[in-house]
Amino acid sequence: MSEHIVPVRIYVTIFLVLLIGTLLTVWAAFQDFPWQLNTIVALTIAITKATFVVLYFMHVRYSTRLIWVILAAALFWMGILFALTFSDYWTRDWISIGY
């Protein structure tokens, strides 16, 4: 079997990282950061937590290239979903078409 078995030590570390991330995001939510920083901080923590889950709990770090491609394709297409939709909504009031 060429399968990689992730050691328990790594699982425990990731679990602790996720716990700390959760407490950190709750703490950060009550701080009044300037501009849109509250949202940016919350999303950064969420993306970091999700990345750890994907790489270690879901074994992607040790998986074949094909799995990486599948995951990258999913994220790329979600990027298209957001980019095209918001290129419409955010630019609707840039021009007036006379009605």
């Binding site: 425990v12 889950v53 709990f57 999913a74 994220l75 979600m78």
Partner: protein, 248 residues
């Protein structure tokens, strides 16, 4: 095919090896790949709802912050920790299956199931609180339609809706449509996951999984972690977005 039944399989036949695979490793990799392709469709599915959330939040920022502040942050945080813990026990269940330790494997699966059900129980409590505060959107719920009591300035009753400047009851209703759609779909995935875990527990008690054959534990684990990731995003986006404005 009588001759096939009498001759031994060509490969070093594990009873779980299907005839169209060369060996267990190829079978396992095909299963994992299939699960990932399914998870791509799930990312697209939840992506659409995250898009709707982003759009309406950018249109009604004050209403979204006000509505979010009405959610119970303690229950939300506890549930996040419960779900992360369940992801950890799920990962450990995969580990113990890979290393052939049967008792801890069953134990981890049972713990994952119990934690998943705990999450759903806490979620049910939150939904019930929203029902009593008249925050279920639309007219779907007989006898208790959407009609929250708006708090006056200085009133700190947590059951009333505290509107920030620019928020209205109607715009808050939009938040609750999205809240119930997203957490509802997430809870449905948890219920399906609990069913899958029950299957895993029954079949692991029957000693069906071993280091050679553990694909079901592995791919249901992938599904469970995915549902956890959805919550990792839902929690800050739904519960935490307006907390810094609460006492402003």
């Amino acid at each position: 095919m009588a001759s096939h039944a009498t001759t031994a399989p060509e490969t070093h036949g594990h009873p779980a090896l299907q005839h169209h695979f060369e060996n267990m490793e190829q079978q396992r990799e095909a299963g994992t790949l299939g699960m990932w392709v399914f998870l791509v469709t799930e990312i697209m599915f939840f992506g659409g709802m995250f898009l709707a959330y982003t759009l309406y939040r950018s249109m009604y920022p004050a209403a979204f912050a006000s509505a979010s502040n009405h959610l119970d942050i303690t229950l939300g945080t506890v549930n996040t920790i419960v779900l992360i813990f369940s992801s950890f026990t799920m990962a450990m269940a995969v580990y113990f299956t890979q290393t052939g330790k049967h008792r801890p494997q069953v134990l981890c699966l049972i713990m994952t199931l119990v934690l998943g059900l705990t999450f759903l129980g806490i979620k049910a409590k939150e939904y019930s609180d929203k029902y009593h505060d008249h925050l279920i959107p639309g007219r779907l719920i007989p006898g208790n339609p959407y009609n929250p009591v708006v708090a006056e300035h200085g009133d700190t009753d947590p059951h009333k809706l505290h509107l920030l400047e620019g928020a209205t009851k109607e715009k808050v209703e939009m938040f609750y449509w999205i809240y119930f759609a997203m957490t509802g779909m997430h809870a449905l995935h948890m219920i399906i996951g609990a069913g899958l875990l029950t299957y895993l527990i029954i079949f692991s008690l029957k000693l069906r999984f071993d280091p050679e054959y553990h694909s079901p534990v592995e791919v249901i684990g992938l599904y469970w972690h995915f549902v956890d990731i959805v919550w990792i995003f839902l929690f800050p986006l739904l519960y935490l977005l307006g907390r810094h404005l609460e006492h402003g």
